[in-house]
Symmetry: C2
Subunit: 208 residues, 2 copies
Amino acid sequence: MPRRVDHDERRRQITDACRRVVARDGLEAATFQAVAAEAGVSVRLVQYYFGHKHGLLVATHRAVIEGSAARFGGGPPPGEGAGPPSPRAVLRAVLAALLPLDDARRADAVVLAAFHAAALTNEAIEPAELRGAPRALVDVVAAQLVRARGGEAGTGKQQGTDDTARLDAELVLASAAGLTQGILAGHVDDETALAVVDRLLDHLVDPA
Amino acid sequence: MPRRVDHDERRRQITDACRRVVARDGLEAATFQAVAAEAGVSVRLVQYYFGHKHGLLVATHRAVIEGSAARFGGGPPPGEGAGPPSPRAVLRAVLAALLPLDDARRADAVVLAAFHAAALTNEAIEPAELRGAPRALVDVVAAQLVRARGGEAGTGKQQGTDDTARLDAELVLASAAGLTQGILAGHVDDETALAVVDRLLDHLVDPA
């Protein structure tokens, strides 16, 4: 039986190479030649899988976002002792996972900053179906905030709780994006970023 | 008497043109040819003033940051009725001034996002002497927070007040940066951004 080429694996090998090139040298550096050399494959193979540069960049952007989403798939940290983790612990884990506190996340954040800047002046490097990705996180964070406050007050849901929780969730995600920018630019160190996260959580939920 | 060329004015004309080119077409589009055409001057004149592309980009980056800083020079809004504005009103004005809520600030924010992304993979497009600019704002915001809390509690300064205020000031600036990114990307509309700002101020200072 002839060996089947694993197309997904090959595409992944090439988008991984593109991520490394963009993280190291910027978006303009991601030519077919440079990406093929980084991946250790021929330019023709890159052309075969992606056709044109736009297709390669869209696929790479998708791979970075899916990789980030997969990090959340690990689930919240275990609670201390028995029982489920507190909403505060879940929120802190989400925020910490969003920050570029290790080399892999830093590289991803650099790539996303490059795509963000490019999307402001060029057309559609962002895959249309991923436009909603940051919005899904708002729901995740808002749900944890409602849970945290229901637990605190013991009164269940109130009128306006959801609207307030959504604004607070937007605040959480905006803070994470801004801290990420500050860390990448070297204005904020990791320790300060985590202290700001804890301070934000002090404002949003009970210290307990 | 021969008319003297106003060198500062000429340099400004060229960096303004460069800002427009970068805001519209991205950083790679800012060639001497494109900038000269946008400014309505010769390529030789651009070369005369800036020598090489790096010099032009550094000068343009500086112009955008100085322009943003000048917007804060307008001072806080007048207080309602008589008396100075409340610390909350000052903080809200600072935050609102940081967000890209009109065309000029939007264009500046696009240019800064381009420089931010480029600085992560290229050397020193950021003028070294401006590296501290975002840090100066931390002091401004922290001072207003201390003032707001001194007024609230009527107890004056306490041990730890300054550290806490600085973390909250970092939170304010990170939120503004993240909201700016969300507005530019089209994830957050202006109204939601201002509602998040008010919500943050609710957490940080008395509603009054």
